[in-house]
Assembly symmetry: C2
Homo-oligomer: 458 residues x 2
């Protein structure tokens, strides 16, 4: 009853829940640099494309059928689809689809995919309340700051324990974003964070199943509900994050409080967000990038005798599958990644299609890839050499793959990625108006104008 064996408990933590609540409630609108605001638009843009792109995945179909038995009110949009459901359901589904292709954003310091929980909750709520685009961008910056700062404080211990950190900090980011959109004061925001702290989501054990993308969706829904409850006077512990039996100490031995308070309001974690250029695990990205560069340098697949790549040991450990049978397995095959890079110059979701993975020319090229581990090579690095049939060689050295913080995707890159994802769902005519609306989100009087462009037109 009065027992507590948690020997590492910190009994005098700083008032983290309060500090974050005051920040979320009181930080000025657009109280950051142009660069931060632009990164927020890039984050939103990338999230929107991923969510629409996976709109008809079987995970989305299954989740929509499960929610249908609740007879949800048609109050919010399922991105990329005609169905409308209640806003908690929309937060759930859009959170699922945005992460379904494992193609979304990454806060590299924590491996959090921050937009999924935060943007999914914020947009669903904003659609119902008719919030402005400015308010949505503000909520996104602040919500992501909360999730990633809590992540920074607990990473890596929390992740190593087995928590899927995207969902197990995402409910806090979503609660923060929704509190901001609801214009809750610091007291009520504190309660929202407190309620959300009791509903963390996500286990790494679920990787490879539909429950992985369920995590950001469920976190979005949990944070939204927490904010709505707080607005109505629902109470929680004022120290729900930091107390000895609060969320962070319960879920992580490492709780570095300074990660939460240092430069709060001047350094924004969304600045460190990155966007995947390739629809697979980040460990293969340097190799795909290198082979794309070989292709751009004039290497023709037909003339190749073999491709030699020198990689970090993790690459073969995690993605050493030589003969992938389908698209999912191909995402764990550096050989397929190299083939896609050399043949197509990119590796979007389409290049992990089951049929394409088994196409003769693709199979032939991936069998020509020879990967060796080189202890001098970093995780982010790769050295690739194309040995041609005529005996000539072409070498490429990638120190940091495209999409990394060092070599971020340009806005034009993001548009190409968005287009490839969205065109198949909404058609080519929908692309330009939707992309323009997304880039101009901060000046939208009402987000519903954008949302109307994000569904199939009648």
């Amino acid at each position: 009853m009065a027992r507590n064996t948690q020997v590492t408990a910190d009994h005098n933590p700083p008032p983290i829940t309060r500090t974050l609540a005051e920040f979320v409630a009181n930080h000025p609108s657009r109280g950051w640099s142009d660069a931060v605001d632009h990164e927020a638009h890039r984050t939103f843009f990338n999230w929107l494309g991923c969510a629409i792109g996976a709109a008809h995945h079987e995970a989305a179909d299954a989740a929509l059928r499960a929610l249908a038995i609740m007879q949800p009110a048609p109050q919010a949009t399922v991105l990329g689809r005609k169905e409308r459901i209640d806003m908690a359901g929309a937060a759930l589904i859009n959170g699922i689809t945005s992460h379904t292709f494992d193609f979304d954003d990454t806060h590299l310091k924590t491996i959090i995919h921050p937009a999924g929980p935060v943007a999914s909750a914020a947009l669903a709520l904003a659609e119902v309340t008719g919030a402005s685009g400015r308010a949505v961008i503000d909520s996104l910056v602040l919500g992501i700051d909360v999730a990633c700062r809590v992540g920074n404080a607990m990473y890596p211990d929390h992740y190593d324990r087995g928590w899927h950190i995207t969902g197990s900090t995402g409910m806090l980011g979503a609660a923060a974003a929704c509190s901001r959109l609801l214009e809750l004061d610091a007291e009520h925001t504190q309660m929202a964070l407190g309620i959300a702290a009791s509903t963390p989501v996500g286990l790494r054990e679920q990787f490879g199943t539909m429950t992985k993308p369920f995590h950001p969706g469920a976190a979005a829904r949990a944070g939204l509900l927490a904010a709505l409850l707080a607005r109505e006077g629902f109470t929680a512990s004022k120290r729900a994050l930091e107390a000895p039996r609060g969320f962070m100490q319960v879920a992580s031995t490492k709780c570095d409080w300074n990660e939460i308070t240092d430069e709060l309001g001047s350094r924004f974690e969304i600045s460190f967000n990155t966007y995947k250029p390739f629809a697979c695990g980040i460990v293969i990205h340097p190799a795909i990038d290198a082979c794309s560069q070989l292709r751009a340098a004039g290497v023709n697949a037909d003339d190749v005798e073999r491709i030699e790549i020198a990689v970090h040991s993790l690459v073969l450990e995690l993605t050493g599958k030589k003969e992938p049978k389908d698209g999912l397995e191909a995402k764990f095959s550096v050989y397929h990644g190299c083939a896609a890079g050399l043949l197509f110059g990119h590796a979007g979701e389409g290049e992990f299609d089951d049929a394409l993975v088994n196409r003769a020319d693709v199979v032939a090229i991936r069998r020509k890839v020879v990967a060796t581990v080189d202890p001098s090579i970093d995780e982010a690095e790769v050295r690739a050499v194309a040995v041609m049939k005529d005996g000539s060689r072409k070498a490429v050295h990638v120190e940091h793959a495209i999409g990394s913080l060092q070599r971020p995707l340009t806005d034009a890159d993001l548009e190409r990625k968005f287009s490839a994802l969205v065109e198949l769902v909404l058609g080519g005519a929908a692309l330009r108006p939707l992309m323009d609306a997304s880039w101009a989100l901060e000046s939208a009087h009402d987000v519903r104008a954008l949302v109307r462009l994000a569904v199939p037109q009648a």
Copy 2:
């Protein structure tokens, strides 16, 4: 990326998720003794009374207002109220109300309050599908077995870490019960348990706030959603409970798998469920019981000089408040508990009313209570002596309080408790028909007949 510092990981756990799924899917209806089946009815009956009794608490009001913005379909009943909402909402609200007074059931080995998550989810689903009472009772027995067995395996480490074990095993119990009601096969039930494993609910830090009763409600809702998703083909890890990065190893260092598999299908944890006779922490129950026994033995409060009680040290540590200012504080005052026992012979929610706590006669009696710690006294025990103004003394020794496994409440006791809770909400005329319907639940063709009796009549 491939890092795992969890040195205590068990990399070869038995297939717990599969074992429980097969049990839930395949165990025969009423495949247990009459005693178990009767205990299931007592569990349901006690839960129903608690939920109706707190129907108008401000926590329920706030939660209903928060859900109202989702415009829920009127498909399921909020117990004790006229509002109807979608079934996930009903699971949430009924789970909240059933635990609001801290007056519900207790599986003493784990301190799990098992009915809240499990019955709240099961009844909401059963109402929508028109399930039979037999099916609901079956789902309750099996769902509670799942939650409490997982609890047995992780207790006390999991609880000591700070998890509110009612919510952090309750989502599994709710998923199991709903899977059974949906007649899912073992494969789909396994997925439901897997999905639910990613959404544990509850921190002990929330005790004393509305988020404490939110835990069983949110667990009920999470388990219900998991079962609905699984039915539609949503996938999860097949080892979501036991894997090194599965729920149990992530949330507890102690994972005693035998607690889950031993006597599965022959020993039912619902047999060890108990029901609180008094609406306060269980540590004061022996003292209240003793003073009630003094009253029954003819001790009149007016004639008492003082009441001497010898108690375990935890009693004063947790409930040593001498002058409680309101009902909530009175729940942490052994002095008030003794006054209630001596004056009224019981201590239901009404005896923790703010006004009553400050009534002159109540204050006068509690000031006559002298409590001392006696190292020879057990937690479950108390020795009480009434010293009368005429110098005579009357002594009582309570080894196990009423409501314990050793001295369980009788069905008649449960009816008195139920009546005190429900009469204020539904009126006296509603009591007998509703109690009769609850005791006869197993023979109900459709649970909706009972549910119609559990709301205010037009």
